[in-house]
Each structure stands twice: as structure tokens, then as C-alpha cells.
């Protein structure tokens, strides 16, 4: 497509969009949207209202997005079968090798902490999962050399964790269904919400945090390592 045509299209589009957006209804005109933050502490016991939305009010979305991750991991692993990557023939220097080993536990602990404290502080399963996955990726990048791949966890284990996490997420959902009649129910199931702010509070939210964190971490690790090895 010609550049001028493209520019024209985009310009017209943005002008129209801006024109449309200039007429957003005023605060008075529309109903005030629900602010989950006002009620989340009482409803879920989670200090972090975003976590409350993610893992309680809209936990179904989260199930969906975790599914997206597992789907993508499955596909990428399938599309990119472990091939020998030529760029890996470079061997890293000792500083890198040892540095990574030293760094790994800290990264892992940091990730776990973000996951576990997701309902209390900023962060949560997704962020923690991403941090976790960096450790796996780092290790794989640094230690795979000369056509020899090394992982923190073998690909099969990764897959296993992913599937277990998926099952666990659904299990939590069915537990809610069995206990209160609503899929993924939290407080309604009767498990205590605990003291807001403590680690073991907010019912199933920490559990789901960890599950989805594992899923995201492992899923991202599979994706990135597969792509990297390609």
C-alpha cells in the first residue's frame, strides 16, 4: 500500500475518532460505574483491589487468560519443535555462568513473594509469574550451549506443572460451586476471609494467585524458550 494512502487513511481515522471522543458523556449524564475498590475489602478480604477484581469478581476472565497462555504455550511448543539453534554455539564466560546461578534464587524468591503477597500489595500472580519465568529463561539462555540444552525444569515438567495448575484452577472453581453454588465463589463458600493484610487472608485469592502465577510463569518459560531455541 502506498505511503500516502496509508497516511490518509490513518489521518482520517484518527480525526474521526477524536471527533467521536470529544463528545464523551459528562459525569452527570451517565450512571456512576461501580467502583470495586469501595467494597472489595469487605467482599473479599483482599487489600489489593485489583487482585480482588482479577481473582474474585472477574476470576472467570482470569481463567480465560490463563487458558490463553496455556494455549499459546501448547501451540508454540508444537510449532517450534526443539531444534538446534546455531547461535547457542557461543559459550558464555564464567562471570555470566556463576552470576546467573547466584542470581537465580533471588529472582525465584522475588517472584514467589510477588505471587504470595498479591492480595496485600501491588503485584499478583501474573507479575510474579513473569518474574519466575525470567529465571527459567535466563538459565536456559546461559546454560544452553553447543547444541546442548539445559533447563531449570525439563520441558515435560513444565507441561506437567501447567496442566496441574489448570486443573487446580478449575478445581478451585468447582469447589466454589460445590460449597456455595457459584463457580469460583470465594467468601460465599464459607472459608474465612481472615484478617485483611495478613498473608493467609482473602479466601481463595492467594491460592488462585499462586496457581495463575505458576501457569503464567511456566507458560511464558515454555513460550520464550521454544522461540529462543528455534
Amino acid at each position: 500500500m502506498k505511503r500516502t494512502t496509508a497516511a490518509l487513511i490513518v489521518t482520517v481515522l484518527v480525526v474521526l475518532a477524536g471527533f467521536a471522543a470529544s463528545e464523551l458523556p459528562s459525569e452527570a449524564e451517565r450512571a456512576e460505574p461501580v467502583n470495586h475498590a469501595i467494597r472489595s475489602l469487605a467482599d473479599t478480604g483482599a487489600v489489593n483491589a485489583v487482585s480482588a477484581v482479577l481473582f474474585d469478581y472477574r476470576a472467570f476472565d482470569t481463567l480465560g487468560e490463563a487458558t490463553v497462555i496455556i494455549t499459546t504455550a501448547m501451540i508454540v511448543a508444537f510449532l517450534a519443535p526443539q531444534a538446534r539453534a546455531s547461535m547457542l554455539s557461543v559459550r558464555m564466560s564464567g562471570i555470566v555462568l556463576y552470576g546467573v546461578v547466584l542470581l537465580l534464587p533471588f529472582i525465584a524468591v522475588f517472584g514467589l513473594a510477588i505471587m504470595l503477597y498479591g492480595h496485600i500489595s501491588p503485584g499478583g500472580g501474573f507479575t510474579g509469574g513473569v518474574v519466575l519465568s525470567t529465571s527459567a529463561v535466563l538459565y536456559a539462555v546461559v546454560y544452553s550451549a553447543g547444541g546442548q540444552q539445559s533447563y531449570v525444569l525439563a520441558p515435560a515438567t513444565n507441561k506437567m506443572i501447567e496442566n496441574v495448575a489448570m486443573t487446580a484452577f478449575l478445581a478451585v472453581g468447582f469447589f466454589g460451586m460445590a460449597a456455595s453454588g457459584a463457580f469460583l465463589a470465594n467468601a460465599a463458600t464459607g472459608i474465612g476471609l481472615g484478617t485483611p493484610g495478613s498473608l493467609l487472608s482473602a479466601g481463595t485469592i492467594p491460592l488462585l494467585n499462586v496457581i495463575s502465577g505458576l501457569k503464567v510463569g511456566v507458560g511464558l518459560a515454555i513460550i520464550i524458550i521454544s522461540l529462543f531455541l528455534e
Binding site: 494512502t5 460505574p33 475498590a37 490463553v68 501451540i75 501474573f126
Partner: protein, 112 residues
């Protein structure tokens, strides 16, 4: 502040769309999608914003908090966007392996 951010979101969208229409290189297409994604996320997060409100770490009911829902939507959208990016990259790599090209307009298998 809001106006600036909203304009930025629109501008990013414009850049992304222009790139989509003009880039030949497939990786650049992916990058354009990431720009578009970022623009939408910016807009979504902007929806949560309320002047003078605190971040939604709720300690008591005395403060005004920003809306947590758009933040949650943004997290979900980020993950989905990342998945799409990964998928596209995987496809690009495979296409490069089998066709030896990274240019989108050289994919004309079906013209025959």
C-alpha cells in the same frame, strides 16, 4: 494530564496503524501490533483515573480510590497481547524457516 495521555493513545494508534499498512517486514508488523496494544492499554488505564484518588490498595473506606476494574482488564489484555505476540513470532520463525523470507508481500502461495 488526561488530555495529554488520551492524545498519546490516539497518536500511538495512528503510528501503529500506519506501520501496519506500510511495513513489509513481518517482525515490524508484530511491533506495530504491540504499539497498538500499548495504546489501548493506555486508554483503558486512563479510564480508571480519577483526580485526587489513591491507588486501589484499600486500607479503609475514607479515601477515594481509582477504579480497579480497568486495571484488571489491562492485566488481562496484556497477557492476551503477549500471547498473540508469541504466536505471531512463532509463525514468523516457521515461515522464515520454510520460505526463507521475512517480507509479508512475498507470501503469495495462494495466488497460484
Amino acid at each position: 494530564m488526561e488530555a495529554i495521555l488520551a492524545t498519546t493513545a490516539f497518536a500511538l494508534t495512528a503510528i501503529g496503524l500506519y506501520g501496519l499498512l506500510t511495513c513489509r517486514h513481518m517482525i515490524r508488523l508484530v511491533l506495530c501490533f504491540n504499539i497498538l496494544e500499548a495504546a489501548v492499554l493506555l486508554a483503558i488505564v486512563l479510564l480508571a483515573y480519577r483526580p485526587e484518588a489513591l491507588a486501589p490498595l484499600v486500607r479503609d473506606g475514607e479515601h477515594a480510590y481509582v477504579f480497579p476494574l480497568p486495571h484488571a482488564l489491562a492485566v488481562t489484555a496484556i497477557v492476551i497481547g503477549a500471547s498473540l505476540t508469541a504466536l505471531m513470532l512463532a509463525f514468523i520463525v516457521r515461515i522464515y524457516k520454510s520460505r526463507g523470507t521475512v517480507y509479508i508481500d512475498e507470501l503469495k502461495e495462494w495466488r497460484r
